[in-house]
């Protein structure tokens, strides 16, 4: 799952700390998501999209080769 959180954050002039506080997670979670190391829950994904005022598809992009059936093993 790829995301545009860093770009949207820059567009809204928002720090990682501010976004983390708004969506109710730690800054480490935002860092992990921006590095594409952590795939958020649907609830958190919607919350992030809502904060930026865009649709979920504008923030997260599903990629078959990355997010295939075996990608969530580890």
């Amino acid at each position: 799952m790829k995301n545009r959180i860093r770009v949207l954050r820059a567009e809204h002039d928002m720090t990682q700390e501010q976004l983390a506080e708004l969506v109710g997670v730690t800054r480490n979670t935002i860092i992990s998501m921006e590095k594409n190391k952590y795939c958020p829950s649907l609830k958190l994904a919607y919350r992030i999209a809502h904060i930026f005022g865009v649709g979920i598809d504008d923030v997260f992009t599903y990629e078959e080769e990355i997010d295939g059936p075996s990608s969530d093993e580890e």
Binding site: V25, T26, T29
Partner: protein, 192 residues
């Protein structure tokens, strides 16, 4: 309150409660743990309510759940192997010491008995002898000889028995762990 302050407070409270419980057990006062433990929990919960930052979010919960599952897998496999190895000291014949008893007829008509302990899994012989004792007159056994006779077999097997006990304790702990895991698994499966 910051996260680090909360963790420091929790650690201090936990140490104080542990010290109070330890002291009360040593002093024989069993009322203190009944008061100290709930009080400690209340203080920690009150501290937690004062924390203004997110302590654990969904990523943290996922990390913890994966770490817990991996820990369970490793502990269960390693523990099962350890429990089987330790318990085999009780049931395995090659691992138990060989104790023999030989009776002799003395010249004066009395009977004597020699008890000997040999190394586990070896043929009885002078090279494999660990220790031996002789009861000179079996029919007129004195208290000291009777005690020696009683403790001889017990001492010979005590090392194996303590290993077996350790194996049994590990096995039972693992069983309790798996039962608890199974109960929570069924609970959450029903919930979700």
């Amino acid at each position: 309150m910051k996260r680090l302050t909360y963790l420091t407070c929790s650690l201090i409270v936990a140490c104080m409660v542990a010290a109070m419980v330890g002291w009360s057990m040593a002093a024989g006062n069993f009322l203190i743990p009944v008061v100290a433990i709930p009080l400690g929990i209340i203080v920690i919960l009150a501290c937690r309510a004062q924390v203004d930052v997110v302590i654990a979010d969904e990523r943290e919960k996922r990390i913890r759940s994966k770490a817990a599952l991996r820990t369970l897998e490793v502990v269960v496999i390693a523990g099962a192997i350890a429990a089987i190895i330790l318990y085999s000291y009780v049931v395995s014949i090659p691992l138990t010491p060989i104790i023999t008893g030989k009776m002799f007829l003395n010249g004066d008509g009395t009977q004597s008995m020699t008890i000997a302990e040999y190394k586990p899994g070896s043929a009885p012989g002078p090279q494999t002898l660990v220790r031996s004792t002789t009861i000179k007159d079996l029919n007129a056994m004195n208290e000291s000889e009777a005690m020696t006779y009683c403790t001889y077999v017990r001492e010979g097997f005590s090392e194996n028995e303590s290993r077996g006990l350790a194996g049994t304790v590990i096995g039972c702990s693992l069983a309790a762990l798996l039962v608890t895991f199974g109960a929570f698994y069924l609970y959450y499966r029903k919930k979700y």
